[in-house]
Structure formats: C-alpha cells, structure tokens
Symmetry: C2
C-alpha cells in the first residue's frame, strides 16, 4: 500500500522518527503546579530562579577558628601567629559582632562568620596557649574553609532550567532556596488499544484459536517507564467502525495513541486506512527497514501521534524504544537533548556470530553472562513472537543497516531494558 505522500517503499528508522516529530502539535504541554515532594521525575515547565542567596551568610566548612586571613600570613610552626580569643560563634546563631584585628573566634562547621573575618583556621593547625590566646601554625588564604554568601546559588541565578527531568538533587536545590512549589508539565496520557478477534483479557481462559492479551501490559509498563500515563482502552475486534470509533475517542482524551495487534495483512491495511480517513496528515510511514518491527505504522492525526505496532512482543518493545519513547519525551516537554545519556548501555563482547541482512537494521535480544570475570552478550534465540525471549533477555544490540552480521568476540553496546 501507499501512504498519503505516495511512498510505497519501507523507510529507515531515523527518517521515520523525523517524520513523526515534524508533524507533532507545536507548543508546550499543559503546566500544573506541584509541591516539590511530588515532583521527582516530572519535567520542569519554567526556569526556577532564586530569590535569595544560598547560603545567606558566609559559613565555615570546618571546625576551627574564624580569623582575618591577613593576621595569619607568614605563620609557621616555629614562628606562629598569636591571636586573641574573641567571642565564640555558636551553631545556628547569628554572629552579630565585628571580629577585632588580631583576634579569632571559635566556630563550628556550618557556623556563621562574623564581620571582618574572611577565613577559618582548622583546629589541627592551632595550638591553644591559654583561655585568651591561640597560636596559628599555618597561614590561611582569604576565603579558605569558607562558603561565601551566595557561593552555592546567587540571588537571581537560574537554578533549574525549564524542560528538565527533576532528579533528587534538583528537588534538594529548590528546597535550599525556599521553592517548595513549582510548575511542571503534565505527563502525557497514552491510549493503548489492543486489536484482534483472537485476543482475550489476561484473566479469561483462552479457548482454541485465542490468546491472552500480552502487549497492552508490555506497552503500559513502557509508557510508565517513559514518564507517561497509560490509559488502557481494552480489546477491540478487527472491524473498521469499532477501531475507528475507539481511535476517535482516544483523540479527545489522550496525547498519543498506540494500537497493537492486527498483524494480518488485511487488518494492517485497515488500520492505515482508518488513520488516513480520520484526519491529516494521516499515515507517515508503513513499513520500516527494521527487524523486528518491519510492518509498523506511524501516523499523526491533527498533531496527535498514532502508532500501529506489530503484534509480536519483541517488535513492540523495539518499536517502542525507537519511536514512542522519543515522541513521549517531546510530549513530556523534555527539551534537553542528551539521548546518549538516557540509554543504559554496557559494552561487552558478543559470544557468537550473528548474521543479518544488509539494508535493514536488526535488533537482537541478548542475555548478559559473566564468564571468568568478564561480561559477555549471549544472543537469545527464539522467534520474535515469543514473550519469553524478552523475559530472558537483559537488553538488545543493534546490527546497523550496512552490515551483514557481527562476529564472535566483537565488542557490542548492549542497550539494557
């Protein structure tokens, strides 16, 4: 079949993904205000700008004596600097005095430096002479053992940029500057539609000719892991009106739509026809130079992406990683482009030769095994229609388009599940 642009042949994955991204609805996802206690893993919708200095005062990073650094210049063990002990600085208290020249105030880690003190001498470099006097055995430079006011974060500084997935330390930084609520993007809602007259719900015994629903569970899990909200629409029979109705409803209540099943030629063509019939641009590609995953359909209707995945679990998993994950990143408002950092990969040797056809990108499931202290990737054999091969595998390796295989002992990057 041809798509709306008249293309007949299969295309490569990179071109396919670009087509999808180009046709997505422009603009940002919806914002929502959230307490930082709930914001872990969410994507920041706005820059977080500090309204204050952190810390708000110069703090000691050690237990010691606050001094004016110049009073210690030239001090050595044989020629120490003598300083008069002045008022002790207590933890959590304001140091609301001026340190006189030639004096030192005892200060705990985290304590506030008094006015005119600009460094802290560690206990280890001090000898106590009597209740009024200490000897400093080693000079300190101005600023030594001190975190200056605003050194961590300055008033007016951008602490978190918009479009960033919030990690524990990001939440901590917000807490540190008193930002306890922040604007984040709503997670994208992904409708999951299982099609096929042979599919029964997981809790129903499948009679002859029927199988239980597997893919909607795999897809739901992958949507959650990708930061989306799975919306499982259920199982629908392979009829034009039924499928069209459920897609039209999903267009009103979700940000992306994933169909799985419909592996037979007639059904695949029907899903493509429905996507084209509902709205433009419709089907963007139907068929990829990819194994497994060749018969995948990708389309966009009025800015909302619609994916028609093959029925084989291994194909579902690969197509999700390659197309749905990056599209969901975009729909999550995640603008940071650091794809290589998001992959969990491990470089290991492959245990045996694998052949592949030139002209298609092949994804092979592998287990990681330790042999004599070294990690090896061992291909998991078995048809892509088997869920058990995915369960046994730890990840996948890619044999690129232009290669016709890889040899035992070659180093490969395993993309871990």
């Amino acid at each position: 079949m041809k798509d709306m642009l008249g293309r007949e042949n299969v295309i490569d994955g990179k071109t396919a993904l670009s087509l999808l991204i180009e046709n997505l609805r422009a603009g940002k996802p919806q914002e929502v205000n959230m307490n930082i206690n709930e914001a872990l893993g969410m994507v920041s919708a706005r820059d977080v700008i500090s309204r204050e200095d952190l810390p708000s005062f110069a703090r000691s990073t050690v237990d010691g004596y606050a001094v004016s650094a110049e009073d210690t210049f030239g001090a050595t063990e044989t020629m120490p600097a003598y300083l008069n002990l002045f008022q002790e600085i207590l933890m959590s208290r304001e140091a609301d005095f001026l340190l006189p020249s030639g004096s030192a105030s005892k200060i705990p880690t985290g304590g506030m430096l008094p006015e005119s003190a600009d460094a802290v001498v560690m206990f280890e470099h001090v000898q106590i002479i009597d209740e009024q006097t200490i000897e400093v055995l080693k000079p300190v430079a101005p600023g030594e053992n001190v975190i200056q006011a605003g050194e961590d974060v300055k008033k007016g500084e951008t602490v978190i940029r918009a479009g960033h997935r919030l990690r524990p330390q990001d939440i901590g930084a917000c807490a540190g500057i008193g930002v306890t609520d922040m604007a984040v993007f709503k997670r994208p809602v992904v409708s999951i539609i299982s099609t096929g007259d042979e599919i029964v719900p997981a809790n129903v015994y499948p009679g002859p000719g029927k199988v239980r629903d597997i893919n909607s569970y795999v897809i739901s899990g992958m949507v959650s892991e990708a930061g989306g909200i799975p919306l499982r629409k259920g199982i629908f029979s392979d009829e034009y009106k039924t499928i069209r109705d459920v897609i039209e409803t999903a267009l009103t209540d979700s940000d992306a739509i994933v169909l799985s099943g419909g592996t037979s030629v007639g059904t695949k063509d029907m899903v493509a026809r429905i996507i084209n019939d509902i709205g433009s641009p419709g089907v963007l590609f139907h068929g990829l130079s990819l194994k497994p995953g060749k018969p995948m359909i990708g389309g966009v209707i009025k800015g909302i992406p619609v994916f028609g995945l093959p029925g084989h679990p291994a194909a579902v998993s690969i197509c999700f990683e390659l197309f749905i994950s990056p599209v969901l990143q975009r729909l999550s408002g995640l603008w940071e482009k650091r794809p290589q950092l998001d992959k969990k990969t491990v470089s290991v040797k492959i245990s045996k030769n694998i052949s592949s056809s030139q002209g298609r990108e092949e994804h092979v499931r592998v287990m990681i095994e330790e042999r004599e202290g070294e990690l090896w990737a061992v291909p998991v054999l078995g048809k892509s229609g088997l869920i058990s091969t995915l369960v046994k595998a730890d990840g996948t390796i890619v044999i690129p388009l232009h290669r016709n295989g890889i040899e035992a002992g070659e180093t490969v990057d395993v993309r871990l599940f």
Copy 2:
C-alpha cells in the same frame, strides 16, 4: 573515637559495605499480593510457574497456507507441489478438523493450525491455480512459520524467578499465562531524620546562621529511585535525648534509618554514641577512606541499618550510592546480583587532569559535554557543600584508592545520576 569493635582507623568502602550487609536482619521482606497492573518495578516474592502452555495451540507466524510439510518436499518454481484447497482457517476460531494429506488450508498470522498440519507456506511462495488448487513453489520444513503449542512457555515452567525486579515484559509474560495477581515484596520504608539546630524547613525563611533543609529532599528522592518508601521524620536539634528518641521510634516503623547533618565533631560523636547505646552491634564503621564522605557513620541496631551521613550534599549523594542503595536492594528482596547492569554508565574522555590523594577513593562530579561530536567528561569544580555542583553535574567518576589522579584525555566511566 573507637567503634564497638575497637577500630580506630578509617576503612575502605568495600569493607564497610560488607560489614553492613553481614549484620542485616536475616530472612525475607514481607510479602503482599498485588495486581500485575500495579506491580511494575516491584520485586517478585515467589517464582511464577505457568499452569498452562503458551500458546495453547500451534499458531502460524505468517499469512499463508497450513500444510503437511512433507507434501511440499522437493517443490521448486519449475516443479511445484500441487495441493488441494481445504477449509479456510479463520482468525480466532478453532481449527477443529484434520487436514487431509495433499491439502492446504488458508491461514492468517496467528491462526490455529489444524490437526496433521505442521508448517505454513507463505503467500509469496504460492501460486493460486483455481478455486480448488494451489501450487507451492518452495518446500517448507516441519515447524516452519509456526509457533508450537508451549513454545513460548511450557506448563510447569518458571517464567519469573523470585527476587527479580519486574520489567514491562515480565508483567506481559504473567498476563500471557493468566497470572493477574502475584506475590511481591513490600518496599522498604526508610526513615529520614535531619539533625542540626541550624536547619529550618524549606518553607521557612532562614534567619542569620540558619539554612533551609536540603538533604532530606535529596535523600527522599534517592530512596524513591532505589525502590524504597521515604518517611520524612522532620528536623531535630542536636541533643542526645531528642536524637535518641527519634531513632528509637524509627526502629519501630521503618526498615532503615538515615540521619543527615550533625557535621560538627561533637554531634558526629553523639550520633555514634546513641547508636551504640541503643543496641548491638551498633556502630560498624565511623570514617571512610572516601572523598567526599569521609566522616560517614554506618551501624546496625537489631538488624536495622542506621546511616549517619555527613551534611554536605555531595557526600550525601556518594554515600547513598555506595552504601544505602545496595543495602536497600537487599531489603527489597532483590537477590539478583547484577550490579554492573544496574549502573547507568557512559565511557568518555576526561577534559582535564585531576589530582587525588593515594589511599582514598575520590568521587568527582562531572558534566558531560559534546565537543565536535565526541562526549567529554568535564569536572564540576566547587566545594562538596554546594548543592549547585550536584545540579550542574550529570554524574560522577571514581579515582581509585591506589591512584593519585587521572590525566586529561584518559577514558573514564561516568556513573550517571
């Protein structure tokens, strides 16, 4: 100070972790039954054994004709095998007939093979002669283009082992064999206690000498990411009775306890004393050959781990990764030992020389930057007391105990946040 075992010196991280693990409460975590829709990321508490074959019948993996393979042996384009068309097999229907010798039944992908058919010829290798007859142009072997009954999962087979963190495909496999509820381990509850008279809640303006709570947010996030449930107890002043009371309460309602703050010498010693006073074995180590993180305290009271973390955010993050994460894995019932697979790492070159002291393991925060298409690790400078250095960083690299630095251009493994 000395710990209960009389050790005075700092120990290395590996020894410290072993001490913790050895002293944890023996036995498994509590089990709970959970619907598979909620089980993603949970740890399986029991082996999942299939009560049925998946699929329950032999299925075609292609659109074509079900045949007895021997009827096609020797077929070629010039000498095709002639087969009589028999009853068509419909999707999702029982194929409740016997395929006569010399016959073929049209079958869709996923369709059920009838008795005595053992292979499927793809449409591409068939020529239709008339309504009763087809020519097969290429022989098929027995089993070709077929998934056998039980080929994915056999009745009695273990599909998921106990002690495994459930991934999307694992949930899918359970659905496929009709297991919609399963036994999983409860997530460990981790009490988080902030100490220090200078710490105020994030939503309170810190007066002079005071700072907002940062660490309890960082630790909460890391607990969640490690699969635990954070239980934030609040901020407590550095007094023996106060800290002892909150630890004693936490021992009754959590599976692990993390204290942060108390960076001054007196407080550190007090926390160690309290841990020893409450119960055995008490403090297992106090001081590590690690930077940042040197002053960390690790102990166990009646099987429950108690961590006293330094107050510096960078130290909190490193100590969590090295000690609390692996302990939480154990407390989660995660028995799979594949630590290298759990790390998100990326191998890149380091942009500049970093010096380090021999005899301590140094963890350096780095940013990942792309320079002319290549990824580089760029050290993030700044004191470990600054939360902003953690926010700017993408991960950390390790300079091992025995090295005194690394040189610009060396390849390093960055452990990503």
